[in-house]
């Protein structure tokens, strides 16, 4: 957090409101990640499968985030596209211990990248290789290779290994996303 503060002071920009879309397969830890960023009193002790979506707000020192936490259940994945248009960044959460469904993740990712609302925009995508504490988990490099992330040329992306229960790796990822979004906004202005 300290770094954010310095950055904000350094750049002297106003706190901007931005929308981010949190997607990924079910049981990958999207709601848990969002829960981590919430204020202490709003935190939920128990995370249940999301049906549809949830809107959560959290802030860091330079940006105010509105996160659309989408349901990852197969039945609701078609609904993600309704929210593509107006988001400034995408957080894609992957369960790195679930090797079996990595191909499903790839399918969903390809669909996302080919969507007309996404493919022509330079929209930053942050990948969380979540559940890194699990024994069986793949490293972020392996996941990046497995998903063919190196082929994404027109969008800034970053992958960071994380543990949503403890919060490890989450801040680093969001830090990168903040930087990217701020850059696009600055550039537009």
């Amino acid at each position: 957090m300290g770094l954010f503060k310095t950055l904000a002071v350094f750049l002297r920009i106003k706190k901007k409101e931005v929308n981010v879309l949190v997607i990924g397969l079910n049981n990958s830890g999207k709601s848990t990640i969002i829960n981590h960023f919430k204020d202490e009193e709003d935190k939920q002790s128990e995370i249940v499968p999301t049906v549809g979506f949830n809107v959560e707000k959290f802030q860091n020192q330079s940006l105010s985030f509105t996160a659309f936490d989408m349901s990852g259940h197969g039945r609701y994945r078609d609904l993600w596209e309704h929210y593509y248009k107006d988001c400034h960044g995408i957080v894609f959460v992957i369960d790195s211990s679930d090797k079996l469904r990595l191909v499903v993740v790839k399918d969903e990712l390809d669909l996302l990248l080919q969507h007309p609302d996404i493919c022509n925009r330079k929209i930053p995508i942050l990948f969380f290789a979540n559940k890194m504490d699990c024994k069986e988990s793949l490293s972020s490099v392996k996941i990046a290779a497995g998903l063919g992330l190196d082929k994404i040329m027109d969008k800034p992306w970053n992958i960071s290994a994380s543990n949503a229960l403890t919060g490890d790796g989450l801040n680093e990822g969001v830090e990168w996303l903040t930087q990217q979004i701020r850059d696009t906004i600055v550039n537009r202005n």
């Binding site: 409101e17 931005v18 929308n19 999301t50 049906v51 549809g52 979506f53 949830n54 809107v55 707000k57 509105t66 659309f68 349901s71 609701y76 078609d78 609904l79 309704h82 929210y83 248009k85 107006d86 400034h88």
Partner: protein
């Protein structure tokens, strides 16, 4: 600047609807603002209001538009504005049935309903339940159960009401919430208790025993909520209606005790329940009536209205009990609330004596122009009842009705007046001339085509039989000159009736019809040509068949037959005899349809199109192999029960009569939940001469489902043998099964049989009722060409003429003509005229002369085109 000025001007207009000029496309365009990053709560609320306004004005959104708006709306969940959020809930509820993928908001709503903000919780529950389907209900079940027992009454009520709504789609899930609902009944909050009772009753309503227990428990508990008590009274009175035992039960004493409750609402509900109960005797009625009487003097108009309205209803069944309130009702006649006054007067008319009729009619006349059509209809119905009760007063009533007829009014009101006049005319021969004169005057200036057509038809039917038929011709012909084509066509038909029935007018009519042949409308010209060419023949029998008697086949069947005929492309001419005849409605059916609306303030919807019993069955039967080739269905009998209604297996039979075949339809129900019946057959022991052509068994008969067995028989060639008694046994294979799943325990079953009561095939099964407008003409005409049989019987078991008439009609299955089924009072002789059609299209005319003296003596004359049929009928009576 200019726009500012305009805005100002609009404001000054004031009072106008700010949403008057909004348009769907513009609003949908505006709704895109929902997608912006930073939500402007005020603006969004305003746009949502516009959307809701449009939807409630009946504007239709397509699925695509709705989905787009819906998803834009979901983005508003990021705003923390309370008003906006609540508007979003409303929007979700409105769009939930049109938009796709509405379940997307499930989690967001669940969060709100369990959250801290109380203003969100109740509304979120209602919205959540509107988007939830059966599959999703599981996910939210836990939250719903919590919400039902929530401390906050609004939340609890919302959850209860929503569960009630959802029981329509998932009653078995809701049933699991019974414990929570039970707890909510004990709530201190008035609404929660009421809603909880509603849910509890709904969960248990199919289980009589459980409902009885529920009521018994709650009646002892003395509920706090008045609404809940009212509901309990309704449940209790429903139980009472179904119960077999007498009124001395605990339920009734509970309702009676509610008459002494301190809330007026509860008292009224209890009184209402008592007076509307079918089995209430006058002794029990007493306290309820006196409560209502008290209400009549209440300063609150609602109470007065409720009391008078209820008394008005009771007056039909228990006029004597209401007489006690006559004094109070007299006071209400001058009530400033016209609705109350109308009901008071009509109630008095129902209960009053003949002497007070004049005074009351005068009273009504003073304000009849001030009340709405709905109430005028009530007045008219009361007058109709009065006219039937006091035939001697017809002149006063008729004058009053004709004055009402001349006033302004809607179709329903005018139609009810015309109906009343027509009933009076039919019932009372003295009133006929004046009534017809009034109606003639009315059609001179009648804006309702349908009514004018009906009256013209009536004039055609009744006019020729009056003393001076010629006076009506002018009125009818005026219609030909002045009216629209539909009325002109009806007028032409009416004139033709005069031409056919009054020989001295025939020539004049022909001149008029010749003029009508120049009409601009096809239908009018066709009718005029048709009638004038028939009249030119001067042949009585032609008159009879083609002018006086209406078409007797059922119109839907005729349509179907003609369609088949066109498709079959056969060279033969179309045979109208092959079309099933429509059965004339029996007297009871007519009475039932009349009674329901009599004097009640209930507007019934448009009458359902009448489809005959045969029409209904034809469709069902034509799907059965082997039945279609039997030809058109001639007649279907009433349902005959072959078992007691509460036995292991319930079997009913319907006899379908075809030209040469009889099809027996056995509807079987298995009431044992631990048995599965297979290969169900009916073994029939037909009487002599009958041949079983085919029987179609029912393969499977699970618990509580209806299965049908058909047997096709051929009628014996000898007509007298067609009447007989068949023994019947139901045979089947039983398999024991699990009551819960309905699956059989083993594949092995055992044969079993069940005795059924004997089935009787009677004469009436083979005869269709036919209405003859002009029975006498048909009778004269039938003197040659028909076979006549005559016999005399003594019906010693009958004591009155009415009884004899009723039994004869029922036994022969023929339709009485010329209203001879009503026996004038005080006569000792009567002639009953009957008509019908035997299967195969043979006409039957029957004249039965009855005389009363130590039992009834009857001379029966039967004429038919077929000698055997005439003999069959005469022999069957003996």
């Amino acid at each position: 600047m200019s726009s500012f000025k305009r805005d100002k001007k609009e404001e000054e207009d004031g009072g106008g609807n700010p949403f008057q000029n909004i348009e769907k496309t513009t609003v949908l365009q505006e709704a895109r603002i929902f997608n912006e990053n930073i939500i402007n709560a005020k603006k969004c609320t305003h746009i949502l209001t516009k959307i809701l306004y449009l939807l409630n004005q009946g504007e239709q959104l397509g699925a695509k538009e709705a989905t787009e708006v819906f998803f834009a709306m979901t983005k508003l969940f990021q705003s923390k504005d309370v008003i906006l959020r609540r508007m979003v809930y409303l929007g979700i509820k409105e769009l939930s049935s049109i938009a796709d993928d509405v379940i997307i908001v499930t989690s967001s709503l669940t969060k709100d309903m369990t959250g801290k903000e109380d203003l969100y919780r109740a509304a979120a529950i209602r919205a959540l339940c509107s988007i939830t389907d059966v599959t999703m209900l599981q996910t939210i079940e836990r939250y719903m159960k919590q919400a039902i027992v929530d401390k906050n009454p609004a939340v609890s009520s919302a959850a209860l009401v929503s569960s009630l709504h959802m029981s329509k789609i998932a009653s078995d899930v809701i049933k699991r919430w019974v414990n929570e609902a039970q707890e909510a009944v004990n709530s201190d909050n008035i609404m929660v208790q009421y809603h909880a009772l509603g849910v509890l009753y709904h969960i248990r309503k199919s289980d009589r025993l459980a409902v009885t227990k529920l009521v018994a428990k709650l009646t002892r508990m003395s509920l706090k909520s008045h609404y809940a008590i009212c509901m309990l009274i309704r449940i209790a009175s429903k139980l009472l209606e179904e119960e077999e035992t007498s009124n001395d039960s605990a339920l009734f004493s509970f309702i009676e005790s509610c008459l002494r409750h301190k809330s007026e609402m509860v008292i009224y509900e209890a009184a209402h329940a008592i007076v509307n109960s079918r089995r209430t005797t006058s002794r029990e009625l007493g306290p309820a009536i006196s409560v209502l009487q008290l209400f009549c003097g209440s300063p609150k108009p609602t109470l007065r209205f409720a009391a008078v309205r209820t008394l008005n209803q009771v007056a039909i069944n228990h006029p004597a009990a209401v007489t006690a309130c006559n004094l109070d009702l007299e006071n209400l006649i001058t009530d400033s609330n016209r609705s109350i006054a109308t009901l008071a007067i009509t109630t008095l008319l129902k209960t009053g004596a003949e002497s007070s009729v004049d005074r009351l009619m005068k009273q009504i006349a003073t304000f009849v122009s001030e009340i709405s059509d709905e109430f005028k209809v009530v007045v008219v119905q009361a007058i109709r009842a009065l006219a039937l009760k006091f035939p001697r007063k017809h002149s006063v009533l008729m004058n009053f009705l004709s004055a009402m007829l001349r006033d302004e009014g809607g179709l329903e009101y005018k139609a009810s007046i015309a109906d009343t006049i027509i009933t009076i005319i039919e019932d009372n021969a003295d009133a006929k001339e004046t009534g017809l004169a009034h109606l003639c005057e009315f059609i001179e200036d009648c804006e309702h085509t349908s009514l004018a057509v009906r009256i013209l038809h009536l004039l055609g039917k009744e006019g020729p039989r009056t003393k001076q038929p010629s006076r009506y011709i002018r009125f009818i012909y005026n219609r030909v000159i002045l009216e629209n084509p539909t009325v002109r066509a009806a007028a032409v038909s009416a004139m033709a009736q005069f031409g056919a029935l009054c020989p001295d007018l025939s020539e004049n009519i022909q001149v008029l019809l010749a003029r009508c042949q120049m009409d601009t409308d096809d239908e009018v010209r066709d009718r005029a040509t048709y009638y004038s060419s028939i009249l030119r023949q001067q042949d009585k029998s032609l008159y009879n068949n083609y002018i006086l008697e209406p078409l007797q086949v059922s119109i839907p069947s005729l349509e179907r037959c003609l369609k088949d005929y066109i498709q079959s492309k056969s060279d033969e001419a179309f045979n109208i005899k092959s079309v099933p005849v429509v059965a004339a409605p029996t007297e009871e059916e007519k009475q039932i349809s009349n009674q329901k609306t009599e004097g009640m303030l209930i507007s019934t919807g448009p009458p359902r199109p009448v489809v005959s019993r045969e029409e209904n069955y034809t469709e069902k039967l034509s799907a059965i192999p082997g039945i279609q080739q039997l030809g058109p269905l001639f007649k279907s009998s009433e349902i005959v029960e072959l078992t007691e209604s509460e036995t292991e297996y319930v079997v009913c039979c319907i006899k379908h009569c075809f030209t040469r075949h009889l099809v027996l339809q056995f509807d079987c129900i298995n009431t044992l939940n631990d048995q599965l019946l297979e290969n169900v057959r009916i073994q029939l022991d037909p009487s002599e001469g009958y041949q079983i052509v085919k029987d179609i068994p029912c393969q499977k008969l699970p618990y509580n489902e209806m299965g049908t067995v058909y047997i096709i028989l051929q009628f014996p060639d000898d007509l007298p043998n067609t009447v007989g008694t068949f023994g019947a046994v139901m045979k089947f294979v039983v398999k024991d099964c699990d009551p819960n799943t309905g699956l059989p325990d083993t594949d092995e079953g055992y044969d079993d049989e069940y005795m059924l009561e004997d089935l009787e095939v009677v004469l009436g099964d083979q005869i269709q009722r036919v209405t003859k407008m002009n029975w006498a003409a048909s009778w004269d005409e039938s003197a040659n060409g028909f076979v006549e049989m005559e016999d005399t019987y003594s019906l010693s078991s009958m004591n009155t003429l009415e009884e004899a008439v009723k039994n004869i009609i029922q036994f022969l299955g023929l339709q009485p003509a010329e209203r001879t089924d009503k026996v004038p009072e005080g006569k000792t002789t009567h002639t009953l005229l009957l008509a019908g059609l035997f299967r195969g299209g043979h006409d039957i005319l029957v004249r039965s002369k009855l005389a009363l003296a130590d039992g009834v003596t009857m001379q029966l004359t039967v004429r038919s085109t077929d000698a055997d049929i005439a003999e069959l009928i005469t022999s069957a009576v003996g």
